[in-house]
Amino acid sequence: MNDPWVPVPMTIRSRRQETSDTVTFELDASAAPVRFRPGQFTMLWRYGLGEVAISVSGDPREPERLVHTIRAVGAVTRPITQLRPGDVLGVRGPFGRPWPVDEAEGSDVVLVAGGLGMAPLRPAWLHLLANRERYGRVLLLVGARTPADLLFPDQLGAWRARFDTEVQVTVDRADAGWRGPIGVVTRLLERAGLDPARTRVMTCGPEVMMKFVAREALRQGIPADRIAVSMERNMQCAIGVCGHCQWGADFVCRDGPVFGWDRVGARFAVAGV
């Protein structure tokens, strides 16, 4: 079926509770492999309940395993995160423009994730690791509210243990066991010792956080067109016809969700665009 409105059923193969409100599903896409680029998203439909935009958080090299990391925040995500292996979700997609991982070849790359922002950045990170030789320094800077809110903590540990990556994690509020840095993620960026001439920044998280990340990167001299952000807007069609996700001249679903700061930076200064 080629109707872009019609979801394809896919069975949940596994479910992992990431944090108290966030779950990672692996869907069986073997019948209709989802070839996606890091940063793209799909529309996930829970039968009869509603559809939401969710970034692919899995490995782009494995199109028959569709991985999503979903936080239960509302009327649709809550019941979706309650599903179990064997249950079925409807899937449309993938949609949207990817992170500029190809353009970044040869550069140093910094990924800055805030909270759930790690989900859309994970495929980019996996891509960097899988093609490690094509990139200079690769940094993953992660911020979370508390240690308990950290996504993929085990993997973070494993990545941090590698010698060819720089992974740093900071939290807003520490608990007893926390030994890492405390504070906003932009601090990590301040201290990353980047070479502005050869660095690309890709960031995803709350809009204010991305704004501060971009501002810091610009301050360090990284040009606006080397800074990419990923946006969230209300999305109903994901194919650029329903109008909901318009942001300035862009449809976030079609022209984004990943944007260069050169294109969108000014919009962050005007409320309600």
């Binding site: 309940l49 559809e51 079925v88 194919i239 329903c242 909901h244 300035g248 001249a249």
Partner: protein, 367 residues
């Protein structure tokens, strides 16, 4: 030599358009306005009416015995090609999984009595719904099948500004048939010109008569309509002027007058925003229903945590700057065809042309 259909044979046109099972949709007077509704017999058409339009005001008054004497009502081709409410798909459970079925085939349509701006609006919707990567199947299937029968305007309404938008008043392309309604000492007739193969085939089946000197009837009428058009939108540099004015003071002012009712977007022939809702019935069968939505609704931009355009001022700004500025970026053209519907049908009488001018020239707010 022009070919014309004597008005006494108008039924033949309706019959021919409705042959092969098409629904013919034409101008009908209903509840104080001309609307587009299915017509089978000539008597159903809005003959003898004339529209008076002004910001926030529309009146249908008796006029000449013209069949197409009233110009534009609150409806447009969008009403039929991109319906206000539509089922996108149905689904039912299939064990743990589900099965989807596509909606029923849409009706084949003939739209009768469209104006130059209506044809322009269809071209614009084509760009959005067919020409920007992914096709919208519901629109595509209606659009591909439709016959477009346009009428040359013989006058302009007070709210018309198509001339300044370069979309009219001449009906110049995009039609299957073009009709020019002429009433003179030689009688009452429709000069018929075909604009496509399908149009030619229809014209060939009609009892047309040769009428000398009617060849330029369409351009004569267009010239009259143009001469009578007093409203115009200053389009040069408008995109830049509006985008420069995003922080201007004007938006807050217009938001004190705007009702936020979405009336303008609903009647606008190019506005395409829709919302979908998933519904289930008592048996558990599911359906996704799409309805016209509007950037004037707060829920339109709802994300977890609240709408991104919570203020009415921001929503009005979105409508105006999208229509007149960012459409250019998105679709290479203005999103406005100058039909004036948004202005006439705004209960508060907010005038798009006047607001665009005010917004674009309002003093900049100092940071």
């Amino acid at each position: 030599m022009a070919r014309a259909l004597p008005i006494t044979h108008l039924q033949a046109l309706l019959d021919r358009l409705g042959a092969d099972g098409r629904t013919v949709v034409g101008p009908v007077a209903r509840d104080g306005a001309v609307v587009l509704e299915p017509v089978r017999i000539v008597d159903e058409l809005a003959q003898g009416w004339r529209d008076e339009q002004a910001p926030g005001r529309y009146r249908l008054v008796p006029g000449e015995p013209r069949v197409f004497g009233a110009l534009l009502g609150p409806q447009s081709p969008k009403t039929w090609l991109y319906p206000a409410k539509l089922t996108l798909f149905r689904a039912e459970r299939d064990g743990a999984s589900f099965r989807t079925t596509s909606p029923d085939r849409p009706p084949r349509l003939a739209l009768l009595g469209l104006r130059a701006c209506d044809l322009a609006a269809i071209r614009l919707q084509d760009r959005v719904l067919l020409g920007s990567g992914v096709e919208d199947p519901a629109y595509a299937s209606r659009r591909r099948e439709v016959l477009l029968v346009a009428v040359q305007c013989h006058r302009s309404a007070e709210t018309c500004f198509c001339a300044s938008m370069d979309t009219g008043p001449e009906v110049s392309s995009g039609y299957d048939l073009r009709l020019t309604e002429v009433i003179d000492e030689r009688g009452h007739r429709l000069v018929v010109e075909a604009g496509s193969e399908a149009g030619r085939a229809i014209a060939a089946d009609l009892p047309l008569v040769d009428v000398p000197h009617d060849d330029d009837a369409a351009s004569r009428q267009a010239a009259e309509a143009r001469a009578g058009q007093s409203k115009s939108l200053r389009t040069e540099g408008l995109r830049e002027r509006l985008l420069d004015a995003l922080r201007g003071p004007h938006w807050d002012e217009v938001a004190t007058r705007c009702l936020g009712c979405a009336g303008c977007t609903m009647v606008c022939p190019t506005c395409f925003c829709t919302a979908v809702a998933d519904v289930t019935d008592a048996t558990g069968a599911a359906e996704r229903v799409r309805r016209w939505d509007s950037c004037f609704h707060t829920e339109f931009t709802h994300v977890h945590g609240g709408p991104t355009r919570a203020e009415l001022a921001a929503r009005y700004r979105q409508w105006l700057t999208h229509k007149l500025a960012t459409w250019h970026d998105q679709f290479g053209t203005s999103g406005c065809v100058g039909c004036g519907r948004c202005t006439t049908w705004c209960p508060a009488g907010i005038d798009l042309v006047a607001e665009a001018e005010r917004a674009a020239t309002a003093e900049r707010r100092t940071e």
